[in-house]
């Protein structure tokens, strides 16, 4: 990221943009909506800056879209900007999901409601499989990555191990396996990884 001081953007403008992204991003793919608003429409960040922020968002724990809001908000207006951006992003969904939650709680024994939600969950399995395939298709082609993928899946889903232990064992092992050996190679790989992510998020963007 460049060290140049970005122009101050008003709290109201930050809140409005993240609120809209949070309100219209149905069906996941919040990142794609954020990219459209922040890079293409408002031009607050260029593509490289957005990808830098995305790269960090994906490495850190938590929801990628919320992490993105914190990072972009901080860049635009410091700590206040981060708080405003994250609040704007989650506020609409929070209101909708709580309204649905209260209604569901009243109607949770209604077989029509249950049938609808089973259908939704089954479709979500198709959606999650697609997203996993798109994000991981490079990893699926590499034997060392497949070993880590299978080990993680087996530990969590088959052996039912606690996620804390899975992350504390397989995580460091995988990082150590890919420890720095050839600096130039690592830099090239990093770039390829980013390009891949950009394309997959583009593929996710729809009008």
């Amino acid at each position: 990221m460049s060290e140049a001081e970005p122009p101050r953007i008003s709290s109201g403008a930050i809140f409005r943009v993240f609120l809209i992204a949070g309100a219209i991003s149905f069906g996941g793919g919040v990142i794609a909506y954020l990219r459209e608003y922040i890079v293409n429409q408002q031009r607050w960040l260029d593509d490289d800056e957005f990808l830098d922020a995305l790269e960090l968002s994906e490495t850190l724990p938590g929801l990628n879209s919320v992490n993105m809001s914190v990072i972009v908000g901080d860049r635009l207006r410091g700590a206040a900007g981060a708080a405003i951006a994250a609040s704007g992003l989650i506020l609409p969904g929070m209101i909708v999901v709580m309204t649905l939650g209260v209604l569901w709680n009243e109607q949770r024994h209604n077989p029509v409601v249950t049938a609808f939600l089973i259908g939704v969950a089954a479709a979500a399995v198709g959606l999650l499989s697609t997203v996993t395939l798109q994000l991981g298709h490079k990893q699926f082609a590499r034997i060392s990555d497949v070993v880590f993928i299978v080990a993680t899946f087996a530990a969590v889903s088959l052996l039912k191990l606690s996620l804390v232990w899975v992350l504390l064992t397989i995580g460091p092992l995988a990082i150590w396996y890919y420890r720095p050996r050839d600096h130039a190679g690592a830099a090239v790989h990093r770039f390829a990884h980013l390009r891949e992510r950009l394309l997959s998020h583009r593929a996710h963007w729809r009008h």
Partner: protein, 174 residues
């Protein structure tokens, strides 16, 4: 009171464990909220997950409904804060520190190494939802059709998800 304390630390922990996003932490969330603390049943976990799918914004906002189910409005508010605030604070400071490691090859190694782990966790998350929702041929057909259509064309998944819900109602009535 004890209930609110448990809701808070469980969801704060889950947000910090979510390496690779919300899907990655679904099996652990199910394990803790259903099997360990018995706040909800497996079927309710599936239903609440589906509510998140039909709401805008991050799907994982549905965690608030788990808090609501267990401890009403206070439970929802605490779970929302616990799931989002610690992670936002962590991201805020990590982002400011991150620039110092800009040239470090270990940064690339961390990303490279955590990528397959995150993919493995996403498969586990998908598998957890599949076990709760693919109960018959119709469920399998919906999942396969959704995947096929999304790989074929870039259409908004919410449309497919809504159609799937209605299709399953018709199937269950018939």
């Amino acid at each position: 009171m004890n209930k609110l304390v448990n809701l808070t630390w469980v969801f704060a922990l889950l947000s910090i464990l979510a390496v690779g996003g919300g899907t990655a932490v679904l099996p652990e969330m199910q394990r803790m909220t259903v099997h360990q603390f018995h706040w909800i049943s497996d079927k309710q976990f599936r239903d609440i997950y589906s509510l998140g799918q039909v709401a805008p914004g991050p799907n994982m906002l549905m965690v608030m409904v788990i808090g609501y189910r267990e401890a009403g409005a206070a439970g929802a508010a605490l779970v929302g804060l616990a799931f989002f605030l610690p992670d936002c604070i962590l991201t805020f400071f990590a982002n400011r520190l991150w620039a110092r490691f800009a040239g470090s090859p270990w940064r690339a190694a961390a990303q490279r190494g955590l990528a397959p782990v995150a993919i493995g966790l996403m498969i586990s998350g998908t598998y957890a939802i599949a076990r709760l929702s693919i109960l018959n041929v119709m469920g399998a057909a919906i999942a396969a059709a959704t995947m096929g259509i999304l790989l074929w064309r870039h259409i908004n998944p919410t449309i497919l998800i809504s159609i799937a819900g209605i299709a399953y109602i018709i199937y269950s009535r018939w």
